[in-house]
Symmetry: C2
Subunit: 137 residues, 2 copies
DNA sequence: ATATTAATGCAACTTGTTTGCATTATATAA
DNA sequence: TTATATAATGCAAACAAGTTGCATTAATAT
């Protein structure tokens, strides 16, 4: 995985600290959305102890820089994932709480319908599917 | 609007208190998902002062009874809406923060694709679209 | 009317997130 | 290489959403 986000930030003149680079690297290597406290715990487990406040501030920063984005879930915690990976949506297993990415072909027609029916200028969308994964069946 | 939810609860032997009936009536007459604190504030404004704790407990109760359901949004607050209304999804205006219902025809093919591609048993789904509404353009 | 117990209100608590401020450390210039 | 400016950080306190324990109130059945 090429750290394109890191070089992009450095070019813009932002400092590359251990907290920043380890949060970006973690998110780049995670294939599903995670929460602030997950980021904090995972980094601590691998020996990168950064303050939870810093995690929140870094998330805010990365959101502003469009390096990560929010993913809406059913619970009341905010989850995040890096932008720029192939467009996809999420599958939630209501049994084991796992989250899986899914790429869909048939969303194009859906978006056209939304645009035509609503007269909104749609800039983003989020599709989430809930059910039981093969392992839990 | 026929208070079918209320009679259903009474048949099941639950008590019909002012808090319960006014929360149900409010949700039945709201065409978009709202939060616990919205419920609390709106009811207070119309002269129904119920404790915020009661609002949360009532929401839990109504979720259990499948009279309302959670709607996942981008913020970190939980929104709720009554079940049983025609199947629909949500449009969010990122300019004025309004939420609007939308009924979609083309989601059937989407669900088939999800099922075929994932081997999950899908029980629910949630589609959300973000953009600028006609009024804000 | 009375009894049963579901529903409620209050206060305290937990958890997630934000803010103020003093300190640390990265990147740049001398 | 050292000094400088200030971005980034940590800590503590504050804040907000949601939860819990417990004593009180009130809706329904008798």
């Amino acid at each position: 995985m090429i750290p394109q986000h890191i070089s992009k930030l450095q070019e813009k003149g932002f400092r590359m600290t251990q907290a920043r680079s380890s949060i970006i690297n973690l998110l780049e290597n995670t294939d599903h959305p995670i929460t602030a406290s997950s980021i904090h715990k995972i980094l601590k487990r691998i020996g990168v102890s950064i303050n939870i406040t810093t995690v929140y501030r870094e998330i805010e920063f990365l959101l502003n820089e469009r390096i990560i984005e929010k993913v809406p879930l059913m619970d009341n915690e905010l989850h995040y994932e890096v932008t720029g990976r192939p467009h996809h949506h999420h599958l939630f297993c209501t049994s084991c709480s796992s989250i899986k990415d899914i790429v869909l072909q048939s969303e194009k027609g859906l978006l056209e319908e939304v645009h035509d029916a609503s007269s909104y200028d749609i800039t983003r969308h989020s599709l989430a599917f809930f059910g039981t994964c093969p392992d839990c069946k």
